[in-house]
Symmetry: C2
Subunit: 141 residues, 2 copies
């Protein structure tokens, strides 16, 4: 499942964007929607990896059985999305380069798995080193 999100992050990197990817999966493992951060590509600060994947999935009647997989710990914006729509589980590729709201989600009943995937870490660490201002803008700093 993380491979789908990483492929999105790599695609974003090739487009010159922030390398964060995500995908929303149904209980049977079907990809409902995949997306990536496109702040730079679309000049749009509202398109984070998770919100793009959520949007790509279209209108779903129930999110409880879905899983959001993201290459990076979800920021408050994306954590709020998960909580509001009752997404049942979140898989996080890494929380080394950025630590968002996944513990808060766990406290509110979301099944959270945090990995320490080196590919995800390298993608973000390289980007932050090259483009610190763009990254700070993306997280409102």
């Amino acid at each position: 499942m993380l491979r789908v999100a990483i492929d999105q992050a790599r695609l974003g990197a090739r487009e010159g964007g922030i390398p964060i990817g995500a995908a929303l999966f149904a209980a049977d493992g079907t990809v409902l929607g995949a997306g990536r951060n496109r702040r730079i590509q679309h000049d749009d600060p509202s398109v984070h990896g998770e919100t793009d994947a959520f949007r790509a999935a279209g209108r779903q009647r129930d999110y409880r059985s879905t899983t959001m997989v993201t290459t990076l710990s979800p920021c408050w914006y994306c954590s709020g999305l998960v909580r509001q729509f009752g997404i049942g589980a979140v898989i996080v590729g890494e929380n080394v380069t950025f630590d968002g709201g996944h513990e808060w989600l766990r406290e509110h009943g979301v099944e959270v798995t945090v990995l320490r995937n080196q590919e995800c870490i390298d993608l973000m660490a390289d980007f932050i080193e090259r483009e610190p201002l763009v990254w700070n803008e993306d997280i409102g700093r």
Copy 2:
């Protein structure tokens, strides 16, 4: 300021959408962006009033001095947006028909003003009575 948001909500209602509007203001009162819930119009669950206004405002370097005005108490998704990007103040038209994350925002340093505007209440109460399923879908219930 609330008038700008209410006008967006009324426009949304005329389009057949969920009547929630919002606008992001600069410190000098300039409207940076205005928007409305367009789940129905765009068949897109990611377009809430606040996220639409945020998107319309484009990339801003700093949100601390901005104010988000919304006709309805912000859900967790929109509250997360406000917290992540450090929007300094939120003005809420009403929290009678839905009570979201504005108290959490206040705890985290956002200046929150909650009004009890009858026009905002009537817009939502009428919509919820007519379209309870669409409304429940919008808040993940």
